[in-house]
């Protein structure tokens, strides 16, 4: 069986999510990677080390990649059993275009996948309260979009893969968008996806400046700062802080939710945390239903007390 994995370059290397998918794919069959980005020997070595046998490399430069990437992949993956994508923005763009181009099924939000005669995908709905098993009935390849951290990325010491260059062909209108500027919004402290402790803020904080309090608490705990979609949409913190359905999926040792009600789309991104502590003034907030410690109280009182107490210990 041949399985393709889409991998977008992130900081010069394959995205962490794609390494998770390659790790899973190698247990199911031969793994070929469609790699989008500048590419490098280090990138190829990392892909091989996780189990990729071959890499097909496309660099679209300043052309918005989804149109040309989907067109190129459609030519390559016709004999594959399945094509795996992550939930990244470009992953979803290429997955959707590829599925429509091939007229194939696309199953989203996958948490597990099996290929026992047919491709079946496990996912969760309603904030992770129900597990759904979906069977792909259309012809192969099945296109499966998997959630981050569904699998752990583990090297298996594989050899360097064979690398093929994929030419950038003119796809007409579908490739007519250009990236004219790129901006990186810096954040301090550990990366959200890797942090052992996360301090996360929601609407209940009241205003953007209250995130200073989150930063201070995070600094004392060596934690990363996260936020809900509501505070990202409100412009209080950048999108890179977002935890949840459309943001990051995190599984830290401790997740401290401050002024977060616990909307389903947030919960799916953090319910795998080992210990959840929630502070919210509404005793009926859904976040309390999954908290190990729930404090019904005012974040503007409890968090400063916590900060002072931690400072006194330092």
């Amino acid at each position: 069986m041949s399985i393709w994995v889409f991998s977008e370059e992130t900081n010069g290397l394959p995205s962490g999510g794609s390494l998770e998918l390659i790790t899973k794919a190698r247990t199911l069959g031969e793994v070929a990677v469609f790699y989008l980005g500048a590419g490098s020997d280090a990138a190829w070595a990392t892909l091989g080390d996780h189990g990729a046998g071959s890499v097909h490399h496309l660099d679209t430069g300043d052309v918005l990649p989804s149109g040309p990437a989907a067109a190129a992949m459609a030519e390559l993956v016709s004999d594959a059993t399945a094509v795996f994508f992550g939930m990244g923005n470009t992953d979803r763009d290429v997955a959707g275009r590829l599925a429509a181009r091939l007229g194939r099924a696309a199953v989203s939000n996958g948490l597990d996948v099996s290929m026992d005669g047919t491709v079946t995908v496990a996912s969760e709905i309603l904030g992770g309260t129900l597990e759904v098993i979906t069977e792909v009935t259309a012809e192969s390849p099945a296109i499966v979009v998997m959630r981050p951290k569904a699998f752990a990325a583990e090297p298996n010491g594989g050899a360097a893969p064979v690398v093929y260059a994929v030419p950038l062909v003119d796809v007409g209108r579908a490739g007519a968008a250009t990236v004219t500027e790129r901006h990186v919004e810096e954040s301090e402290g550990p990366a959200l996806g890797e942090a052992n402790v996360i301090v996360s803020g929601g609407r209940g904080l009241g205003s953007a400046d209250k995130f200073a309090m989150m930063d201070e608490l995070a600094g004392l705990l060596g934690a990363a700062v996260g936020g809900t979609r509501a505070v990202v949409d409100a412009g209080w913190v950048p999108y890179s802080y977002q935890v949840g359905q459309t943001g990051k999926t995190v599984k830290p040792s401790v997740y401290i939710a401050c002024g977060i009600s616990g909307a389903m789309q947030h919960v799916v991104g953090m319910k795998g945390s080992s210990t959840i502590i929630a502070i919210n003034k509404d005793p009926d907030a859904p976040i309390f239903a999954l908290s190990d410690l729930g404090v019904v109280g005012d974040v503007h009182k409890v968090v400063p007390q916590l900060i002072d107490a931690l400072k006194a210990r330092a």
Binding site: R92, V136, A234
Partner: protein, 251 residues
């Protein structure tokens, strides 16, 4: 500029939806509401229409016959709506939905298509991209800001560590995040919405059949996390938080 906006009517998110036993499809009540995330799409479309003396047409596939959510979007200021209302489309997956909406837009004509990034009830998050492929237009996705130029559009596209500025000629498709604050309908808008034109089409009008690409085999409850200790802050709750942090060995 002739702007097409995808809108979805969904069960009120305040009440969790239920699935039918046979096909595991969402049971859609009569009184569905406009998906909140679509309000930003309607807002962007209205701003672009105002800047370019254009029109805004809503497109929705809604097999339950309800119009409440569509009227909510018309009340914000959209000019007209095209509703694909057909029992044959019940249970349609993302690809069939994309084919239906794209066919309706091709039939009616468009310069720009605007959609949310994903619906609140199904959240597959790939339907607009499928439409862009079918319509053969660039997909300017995850836009947190949209500006119309002369025959072109420019967006700020969210990336994992910041944002890119992306530009494309029209026709194009844009997906917008919920960061763009939508306007509230005025009383006048609500009254006018009642008489705005709503065209109803069936899948046969568009020559689309509801092809099955995937089947839900089972739906089972997941062992949920259970609530632990809940305490009311008496001024010393922070001490209990520190104890829990100590138990977790992070302080």
């Amino acid at each position: 500029m002739n702007i097409a906006v995808c809108v979805k009517q969904i069960p009120d998110p305040a009440t969790p939806y239920e699935l039918d036993d046979e096909n595991h499809w969402i049971i859609r009540p009569e009184d569905q509401v406009l998906d909140d995330t679509d309000r930003s799409g309607v807002e962007v479309a209205l701003q672009l229409a105002e800047a370019t003396e254009g029109t805004v047409t809503l497109y929705s596939m809604s097999p339950s016959g309800t119009l409440q959510g569509i009227r909510q979007a018309l009340a914000m200021g959209a000019d007209a709506a095209v509703l694909i209302d057909d029992p044959a489309l019940k249970g349609a997956d993302a690809l069939t939905t994309a084919r239906v909406l794209a066919a309706a837009m091709q039939q009616e004509g468009f310069d720009l298509v605007i959609a949310g990034t994903e619906s609140t009830d199904g959240y597959s998050g790939i339907m607009p991209q499928m439409m862009s492929e079918i319509l053969d237009v660039p997909c300017l996705s995850f836009a947190r800001k949209v500006d119309a130029g002369d025959g072109s559009v420019t967006i700020e596209r969210q990336t994992s560590d910041g944002f890119d500025v992306v530009e494309a000629p029209i026709p194009a498709l844009i997906t917008v995040t919920a960061g763009i604050e939508p306007r509230y309908p005025t009383f006048k808008g609500i009254m006018q919405a009642k008489s705005k034109p709503v065209t109803t089409l069936t899948s046969a009008d568009l020559g689309i059949t509801n092809t099955v690409h995937q089947v839900i085999r089972s739906v089972e409850p997941v062992a949920a996390r259970t609530a632990g200790e809940i305490i009311e802050d008496d001024g010393e709750a922070y001490l209990r938080i520190i104890e829990v942090l100590e138990q977790a060995k992070v302080v």
